[in-house]
Symmetry: C2
Subunit: 209 residues, 2 copies
Amino acid sequence: MTKDLDTESRILEAAKRVFIRKGYAGARMQEIADEAGINKGLLHYYFRNKDNLFGAIFEEAFRELAPRTVEIFESDEPLFTKLEQFIDRYLDFLAERPYLPAFVIQEINNNPEGLLKKLAESGFQPNPMKLFIQIQMEIQKGNIRPVNPIHLVVNLISMCVFPFVGRPMLQQILQVGDAEYLEFMKMRKEVILDFVKNAILEEGGGSRE
Amino acid sequence: MTKDLDTESRILEAAKRVFIRKGYAGARMQEIADEAGINKGLLHYYFRNKDNLFGAIFEEAFRELAPRTVEIFESDEPLFTKLEQFIDRYLDFLAERPYLPAFVIQEINNNPEGLLKKLAESGFQPNPMKLFIQIQMEIQKGNIRPVNPIHLVVNLISMCVFPFVGRPMLQQILQVGDAEYLEFMKMRKEVILDFVKNAILEEGGGSRE
DNA sequence: GTCTATAGGTAGATAGAC
DNA sequence: GTCTATCTACCTATAGAC
């Protein structure tokens, strides 16, 4: 439990937990109040209504998640260093917030117009061009196989994020218990990096830088 | 619009659309009635309550989705034929029901106890062992690199499903419009198969059977 | 700032006419 | 089977005491 933070922070923490657990439509102001150890009235005192409270949570969640996701676009490192750092940091990040991506994706899917418009207005404009060009250069140099940069990035993100988003379904399909799944997740950094490297490295090919 | 089907089917079709669009908690019986072109009373006449109606939709959705997902476990084909067939059929299937996996995943995530229990009771018990053993055999024969079978299957499913589940987010990150994304999705069968093959084929290695 | 009480609206479910 | 009207419960939001 969050101890003696100020009330606003307690509300935000509680709201985050409830919204992530139930989604916007399934969350109840009463449940958030209970979880924060206060009463409903105070929720409306601090945040005028449910939309406002949700907006604060969603924006915070997105601000946490998005920079990590697009981090791979910004760095100046060589391609394989970049890939390795991205996988390493992103999986660490997700391991500490395993429910974050499913929450963000669910809410965007349920309300694409509203939420995506707000994100665009808030100036969220990632720029993947630098990475795409870097990949093209490596192809021209003969270091990696000819791969479509967009597909490479989508494959990478998919392999990192989906095991969190689709965890219950994957466990059901693969008939894997909780302990086994956690063990499985620990190995993924190495597995994904190997998988991607082997998929794109030119066989005879040049240097890895 | 669904034309002159019998009422029950019209309700099911409408409910499916609304539940998929809004999720269980966000869906309104009124909206389903409107979408079916009938009134609320009839919903309760055919399906006693919201839970019942949702149950019918979810079970149908899951029955559609799950066999496709685990289809890869059943076939008797050689490994690479199996992979190719799975990617081909699964992406065709998803292209016609792009919102299905996000819906199923969202509802399982929001209510894991209830829905997973029902699935287990309904006898959904996939058996991935045959595929896992087949992969091990190929490794022993030196045809493919030593890869953990679970990770291979998770990587494959992730690359197939996530572009549908996370589409709005991916488009936002990659700054890609609708037309461009559809174009991108058309290429994915080939891309995923190539990616996986290159990732796991032993370089010097043996036959591809 | 924090509480209790309650207003106002809406959603699911039922009753009953046709 | 299908409709309208209505009940009941719940949920968001507000009012007002402390």
